[in-house]
């Protein structure tokens, strides 16, 4: 299979009430449930994007994990860049799907809301990242029952081989009833970690 010679320039994790970048802890708040934890992380990381508070849990998780990587690129905020986004997870948008379903379960108390319904698609979080960072780029959301470094690496290579992206943000952002986990990484021409399945798996498990 055709390969590319790219590198993992940076990576981020959000899990177990911590936010880290390149393996270094940026924020920790051990005592809070997810909604309070992610809000505290947003404040501590100086995110400055009020639209964040309208997002659902999955979008907040993906947005913050991507923001950690993208705000280090000075030009990402003022000059357009072709950074594709390839995300994956297990639970799709089921956390918000259940909320929408609950709003229509009782015919006597029927209150479907467009503000909830719009988040019943996993790729909405890619839209949120794209809006903030002005990324008019390739995006796709895949669902697997577990983290698949192979699929992410192959699809990312395909984007480079087909000249569809200069850089790619790839990874896993999963939010389910009681669990959450984000692992994102930025693939580019720069860096010292080779972009391949083995390294993606290693960084995921760090």
């Amino acid at each position: 299979m055709l390969k590319t010679n790219k590198f993992i320039q940076s990576y981020s994790h959000i899990r177990n009430n911590t936010v880290s970048k390149n393996g270094t802890l940026l924020f920790e708040n051990a005592s809070e449930a997810f909604p309070d934890f992610i809000k505290a992380a947003y404040n501590a990381l100086d995110t400055g994007y009020p639209k964040f508070f309208k997002m659902d849990n999955l979008s907040k998780l993906a947005f913050l994990a991507a923001d950690v990587l993208l705000k280090e690129i000075p030009s990402a905020t003022n000059k357009e860049q072709n950074i594709a986004i390839v995300l994956s997870n297990r639970a799709s948008s089921l956390d918000t799907d259940r909320k929408h379903q609950a709003s229509i379960a009782n015919k006597e108390d029927y209150f479907p809301s467009p503000a909830v319904f719009v988040y019943t698609l996993p790729n909405i979080c890619i839209g949120e990242i794209s809006i903030k960072h002005r990324l008019f780029s390739e995006n796709s959301f895949f669902i697997f029952d577990r983290f698949s470094a192979e699929h992410l690496a192959d699809y990312t290579n395909g984007l480079f081989l087909n000249n569809k992206a200069e850089k790619v943000i790839g990874g896993w952002v999963d939010f389910d009833t009681d669990t959450y986990e984000a692992f994102l990484y930025l693939v580019s021409d720069k860096g010292s970690i080779p972009h391949n399945k083995k390294e993606i798996n290693r960084l995921y498990r760090l």
């Binding site: 799907d97 229509i104 719009v118 698609l121 790729n123 809006i131 995006n139 395909g158 087909n162």
Partner: protein, 382 residues
């Protein structure tokens, strides 16, 4: 890079359970949309395109299988079985499987649904389809809002180009459910009559359900008669709004530019556009702006939503299949529901099914999250 083709195909829909029957109905101007009064789906009656349950059960029984399967699984299995059989391919490690859907078995979340709630996980759907047919490779589930079905064709093409697979089967499907109808209704996006894409009198969408399947392959021998070559594809984000289309059609514009660039095709070489055309005021206006920016305002264009409704993640694959048959038959199909142009920029809407020599067509789709996809297909010269 190898040439990549879309070959054998099937549509399971309100207009029939195989592509030739469905396409014949489209050519005859038959719509699958009807008024549905079903309190289990919506408090008010609504217009939608649904598959008759008895016909589906009959078709599914002919698969002679044991076990219980959801409505969507039955639709997808019936559809994909025909394509696998027609292809004659052995399902070895060089054959991939992509499942594309926006909501999958979302009806499993309903209180009275007999299936376990975990059936709503999309990976369960992927594994079930993989095991049913005995695919040797993992099912790849793609869920990217309303571009899922057409994006899957681009994803398959890229995997074949880079040597991951030689052949990829795609099955795409979505249902008319209470979940979807109530959601679009909360957006006030549903029309209370059959939808009218690009028309002055359009006022929203109809939801539809369908399962569609294709074989994407690099093998030029043994292609279906209506097979087409994929010349170029792209998927670009609007970076504008999560539920409203861009006012400049930015993501769609960029998707088409990138697809044309890869295809080496000029705008004036496009013979036909199979557009998205949901019949909401904003979507259709956005497309008109993008197509005018692209210099495509005179290319014959239709939306097939007047026949099938908006079949969500399956719509792009369904409409690609109809486009393939359109090319093969050298026939432009009427954009059903259209009366008078109701967008601010000129478009050449097809207002009556007619014969025309066709060689290259452009398929586009747009969806929530700001996603857009464009693919250019060419008739195979024989």
């Amino acid at each position: 890079m190898n040439s990549v083709y879309v070959s054998y195909n099937n549509i399971v829909s309100s207009l029939g359970f195989d592509s030739p029957t469905v396409v014949k109905n489209v050519a005859d101007g038959v719509s699958g949309i009807s008024r549905i009064a079903d309190k289990n789906i919506s408090p008010q009656a609504f217009y939608a395109s649904t598959i008759p349950t008895e016909t589906l059960s009959g078709a599914f029984e002919s698969l002679n299988t044991n076990g219980s399967f959801t409505r969507l699984e039955q639709m997808m299995l019936v559809s994909l079985e025909k394509v696998i059989k027609a292809s004659g391919l052995a399902l070895d490690e060089r054959v991939g499987l992509i499942i594309s859907t926006t909501k999958g078995n979302i009806d499993a979340l309903e209180t009275n649904n007999p299936f376990p709630k975990k059936r709503a996980y999309l990976s369960e759907l992927g594994t079930l389809i993989k095991n049913f047919f005995g695919f040797k490779t993992e099912a790849i589930v793609l869920s990217n809002a309303c571009v899922s079905g057409i994006l899957a064709v681009g994803v398959a093409k890229r995997f074949i180009n880079q040597g991951k697979f030689d052949h990829v089967f795609i099955v795409s499907g979505d249902l008319v459910t209470e979940f979807i109808v109530s959601g679009f209704n909360s957006f006030q996006a549903l029309s209370n009559k059959p939808c009218k894409p690009y028309c002055k009198y359009r006022d929203g969408i109809n939801i539809g359900e369908v399962a569609a399947s294709v074989l994407v392959t690099s093998e030029k021998n043994n292609l279906a008669a209506e097979a087409v070559q994929i010349l170029g594809d792209a998927s670009c984000n609007d970076a504008n709004h999560i539920s409203g289309p861009s006012r400049t059609g930015e993501g769609l514009y960029r998707s088409v530019i990138s697809a044309l660039d890869e295809a080496g095709v000029r705008p004036n070489e496009i013979d036909y556009i199979s557009a998205h055309g949901t019949a909401t005021p904003f979507n259709d206006e956005m497309e008109a702006i993008a197509f005018n920016r692209l210099g495509l305002s005179e290319v014959p264009l239709n939306s097939l939503k007047g026949y099938f409704g908006h079949t969500l993640g399956a719509s792009g694959l369904l409409e690609t299949i109809v486009g393939m048959h359109s090319l093969q038959q050298n026939k432009l199909f009427s954009s059903l529901g259209f009366e008078e142009l109701g967008v601010s920029q000129p478009l050449n809407i097809i207002t009556g099914t007619r014969a025309q020599e066709l060689n290259v067509f452009l398929k586009t789709a747009s969806g929530f999250g700001g996603c857009n996809t464009a693919i250019i297909f060419q008739k195979i010269k024989r």
